[in-house]
């Protein structure tokens, strides 16, 4: 998984459609900035904190990479099991380091699709320092991943 030091930030560009009465009292659509933009910003902070917390648990051997992504993607064991077409007991087992160790590549590919990551992301975190950029391209149903790390050019704030 690629983790950027500066993290993702909200650019404030999102707009939502609200219905509200106009001057004539007609309830009409308005395509405007969300009234709750502040909550969106705190979402990014919390996500960063959650990443750090889960990474700590993963490195301490409390959870496996599957456990990491179930929590990070805000999923429940029940939903994960339904989507993986397996039992909740199996998912719980896969969420432990012991259970993860016995997983087949085929199962990892299915999990990778569910979490929208590459199989390699279950085994590695790549931290990208400020001023660097990284792009990942996946091949063969997420089994192979090519990561390209570059130095950000001037004026590039991506």
């Amino acid at each position: 998984m690629i983790v950027r030091e500066n993290g993702d930030r909200y650019d404030g560009s999102h707009r939502v459609v609200y219905y509200a009465p106009d001057e004539q009292g007609r309830c009409a659509p308005q395509h405007v900035k969300s009234e709750f933009d502040e909550q969106i910003e705190s979402f990014y902070e919390l996500r960063e904190a959650e990443l750090e917390r889960l990474q700590g648990r993963l490195l301490a051997g409390e959870i496996s990479s599957i456990g990491f992504f179930v929590h990070y993607c805000n999923m429940t064991v029940q939903d994960t099991a339904a989507r993986m077409r397996t039992t909740q007991g199996r998912v719980r087992r896969h969420m432990t380091p012991e259970g993860f160790g016995g997983l087949k590549v085929r199962t990892l590919k299915k999990y990778a699709k569910l979490f929208d990551v590459a199989v390699a992301d279950f085994f590695q975190f790549t931290h990208i320092a400020a001023g660097m950029n990284a792009t990942a391209k996946r091949f063969h149903e997420r089994l192979i991943q090519k990561v390209q790390v570059t130095i950000e050019s001037e004026g590039d704030d991506s």
Partner: protein
């Protein structure tokens, strides 16, 4: 990549109503989003106290079952929707390609998690999101998503993952196209039937109410009572995020604000114009005021949620000094939700009477 000639991408507050409107608009029928929502008997309240979704608190549903708006609008307006279900995304996309190549936009049910053109905070595992495919090249599709200001681009791999989720209640590998629209629509008949249906699902007969106490007005009352229990059941960031998610969910997650009540008010105004009914116009005003008050309540929830510390370690100490204040604030919110439930009970009974008097 080029969009199908004549397709106009329009944003909407909700994905299903927006997708339906955009599809039929391409086919030549002019209909507003509130009219789609109202004729689709959209309003609902379901408090799934036994299920957890992307929020840290139990799931709340504010509208009827996904794809029911398509079903009801199709039936009442005489729009001939073609529904096609496939075993796998490959087969579904082969069919979708045929339609796109023939210049027919294709509605698809997808998991929002894979919609890469959306900002990350919207990309949650919600498996009943509706979009329209309006163009393609070898490895990607052009997507008209009512939540996106512009047409988006989605890789085929992501679209396949989004269409084939195996999630509960998902409509996997499901395509919708418009086969035909009627020469004329009896809007009065459609609106009247839809209002009756909405009254029925919101109020429900007493026997059914007891069987499903988490739905309709009963569901609102149950939710209101549970709000008081939050500080005992949840703590720290879980509590904070749950409260905030509830409030943002009422306003921003495809509802048009006020948990769809403002959009329903807009529908009632349009319906009142059709019938020339001042009684219905009065009900529309009441519903709009109710929706605006719901917004005020959501803001109150945001205020309460934001007071809870972001760090779990600080929570016990914070609770000692702020616990009573939070309990009392949530108690007030609970009372106001009970008032909202009582309002809706009266409102839908009144709507039933007014509909019976409409010509």
């Amino acid at each position: 990549m080029k969009a199908i000639d004549g397709y106009e991408h329009k944003v909407a507050s909700h994905c299903e109503t927006g997708t339906l409107r955009n599809l039929v608009s391409f086919a030549g029928m002019d209909i507003s989003e509130p009219m789609v929502f109202g004729i689709g008997s959209g309003p609902m309240f379901i408090y799934l106290f036994f299920a957890k979704g992307p929020s840290t608190l139990p799931l709340i549903g504010l509208r009827n079952r996904p794809a029911n708006i398509f079903k009801f609008v199709g039936k009442l307006c005489g729009i001939d929707f073609r529904y096609e279900k496939f075993k796998n995304p490959g087969a579904a996309l082969s069919r979708a390609n045929e339609w796109i190549d023939r210049g027919v936009p294709v509605g698809v049910s997808v998991d929002m998690f894979y919609m890469k053109y959306l900002p990350i905070f919207l990309r949650v595992h919600a498996p009943s999101h509706f979009i329209v495919l309006v163009g393609r090249d070898d490895g990607a599709y052009m997507v008209s998503d009512p939540y996106n200001s512009e047409l988006g681009r989605l890789d085929r791999e992501d679209l396949e993952a989004a269409m084939d989720t195996h999630a509960p209640l998902a409509r996997d590998n499901f395509l919708i196209t418009v086969r035909g629209i009627p020469d004329g629509v009896d809007w009065k008949h459609a609106a009247k039937k839809a209002m009756k249906k909405t009254v029925k699902v919101m109020l429900m007969p007493p026997g059914i109410r007891r069987l499903v106490p988490f739905m309709g007005i009963q569901g609102m009352k149950l939710y209101a009572r549970k709000v008081r229990q939050w500080p005992d059941r949840y703590q720290g960031v879980v509590l904070r995020e749950g409260i905030l998610f509830n409030a943002v969910g009422f306003e921003d997650q495809g509802t048009g604000g006020g948990a769809f009540r403002l959009m329903y008010g807009a529908f009632l105004q349009e319906a009142a114009g059709l019938f020339g009914s001042t009684e219905l116009e009065g009900l529309a005003e009441r519903m709009i005021e109710h929706g605006q008050d719901w917004r005020r309540l959501s803001r109150k929830l945001i205020e309460i949620g934001k007071q809870v510390p972001l760090n779990d370690d600080e929570y016990p100490r914070w609770l000692e000094t702020h616990g009573e204040g939070m309990r009392s604030a949530l108690h007030e919110v609970s009372e106001r939700f009970l008032e909202k439930a009582a309002f809706e009970e009266r409102f839908f009974k009144d709507l039933d009477k007014v509909v019976a008097r409409l010509g």
